[in-house]
Subunit: 201 residues, 4 copies
């Protein structure tokens, strides 16, 4: 039984990997099931055994990716380091990972656009984002927001996550590539400074 499970998991992983590569390169709509079949090494019927439609495959892929990302994030947040360091680690790890796998950023944009059209995917992203914002807000709070700044903290968290997505997007599309890790960390610093700085008015 466990062996069964393993094979299923392995096959699905195999397919996810193929789909990720194909979607990243060609985009969801320009990707043919046959392309994914070819990339996966399975047969057409085989693929449809594990995913009953292209949409379900995309949805599953989003789910898997966001789960991974969430776990990776949690791992960093669970560390013993001071909040500021955890934040930096988070940012750098994220940027570093994308820099090494630029396709991931491309894929993310593709799937994000898909969220507009496919409700399940939208829900996935939505939930993920909410958790993300909460964790960041907590982190920022811990970093030195006085209780009087709670609102600011939450707003800053939203700003932070938006910043990340927006910069990833810019980075994937920009023809003249820039150093994502650096840019992202600089931006984060500015943001953090802004949160901790005394109110202007």
């Amino acid at each position: 039984m466990a062996v069964e499970e393993d094979r299923v998991t392995a096959r699905r992983a195999q397919i996810f990997q193929a789909a990720a590569a194909v979607f990243a390169r060609q985009g969801y709509h320009n990707a043919r099931m046959d392309d994914i079949v070819k990339a996966s090494g399975l047969s057409k019927g085989g693929l449809y055994w594990y995913f009953k439609s292209k949409e379900e495959l995309a949805t599953g892929l989003v789910h898997q990716m966001l789960t991974h990302e969430s776990e990776a994030m949690q791992a960093v947040l669970n560390s013993e380091a001071p909040a500021a360091e955890r934040l930096e680690h988070l940012v750098r790890a994220f940027a570093h990972d994308l820099t090494k796998n630029p396709d991931r950023a491309s894929l993310a944009l593709e799937l994000l656009a898909l969220a507009r059209t496919i409700p399940d995917i939208r829900t996935c992203f939505d939930t993920h984002h909410e958790h993300f914002v909460e964790r960041i807000a907590a982190l920022l709070m811990e970093m030195g927001g006085s209780s009087a700044r709670q609102l600011d903290t939450h707003a800053a968290a939203l700003a932070f996550t938006s910043l990340i997505d927006g910069m990833m997007l810019r980075w994937t599309l920009a023809k003249s590539p820039f150093d994502l890790e650096n840019a992202l960390w600089e931006a984060t610093e500015v943001l953090v400074r802004g949160v901790q700085a005394p109110q202007l008015r």
Copy 2:
């Protein structure tokens, strides 16, 4: 002659409007040329008289939208008000506009995703973004960056534009809608504070 030009312009505008509505609702790939034809009030052949392919139509639409946006931005920047006010005006106008036309944000995401696949569209966005960043950088500089902070200013401008795109994206996808104008302005304030705050380390 001028009349000719006018008709051509009018027709193209008419088609752009139809395409914008359809792309916003259904997405580029789920949009049928027939849908746009229907929405435009022209005939199929008529549409193809002005745009020789679906792709060219999308490209033209991106061009037109970015041109409009750039001009709107310039108009705000040309005002006599102090820099800080111009920035606020810019942010609020942008957010206000989207709030009144939520489809625009949706459309923007769609077209942004298209940029991955269609080179001409990518170029349009790229150029537009570069100009955008430059203008914002100039504005931030004017707002009080000492020359010693030039680098920060540019980084902050990049952060700012990323923030805008990212938040617009979040806003379109979020199921629980939030006040875009408020969130964006708060985030902007944090960012500005961060730029003007004394270096932390």
Copy 3:
């Protein structure tokens, strides 16, 4: 009135020339009315003023070409020279003309194929061919067929015309071009010899 007629004739000739060139190069079905419009120097509406459909244009073109060819043939046949010389002249003139205007042969094949589908064109060719065969038969008879060979003469005429069409066809399609005039005249000689030779059995 006569001036009117002249203009009409001139315009039609102008269009025929354009259509001939376009059909020769692209074939009837791959030719767009716009191509012919462009080649003719007229406007779309202008072309349709003189020919009310693509098919009518093709039909008119066939008619005009066959009329010309028939007249050219008649001119040669009307000469005072001995029959054998007239035949040679006929063959050489025909081949010479095609060699100088290879498009004509190509066009002929195209229109011949069209005859299968367009009844009017088929009728044109049919009538033309009948006359052609009759004239050739008369010529061959004059060249020395005894009355006892009348049947042979007619058969030979049919053979002769078939030979011409077939060789023209081969010539247009052959990738390694050959000397049409020479080949055709040699073949004619063989045929003539065969008609004049004593019955074998």
Copy 4:
């Protein structure tokens, strides 16, 4: 494996037959893929599984027809009979076949016209014709050409093949049908007599 091959061959044959019928009746350009689909008994996708475009289908059809024809010719030429009889057999079999299947002649004209536009088809015909001429030349030589007449023999072979094509063409287009077998054999006799007759000049 052999079963696989067989099915593929059978399907292709099935499609060729349908295409031949449809092209013969309507012509290549007036034939709709749907017509062929209907005639073949397959589905649209099924047809496209075996031929990836209309053009490829036509090309394949030409190839198949010429291969068959070449084999049929070879079969006749391989017989033990004297050369003259083999020639007669060849001519009569060819004509007889067409008379029983008039569509074949019609189809041949259609495909011949296609050769003007589709390079692969042109090449097929070209190669076929070359072989045809060579075989006929050899046959004529065997029939009694002295070595002094070698040139004439080749010319006569070219004349012969042209004659066949031309007469088939005439026969398909003629409204008043004639006896193809008879006409063709008579013409052949004249030609042969011409080759064997003493030089005139």
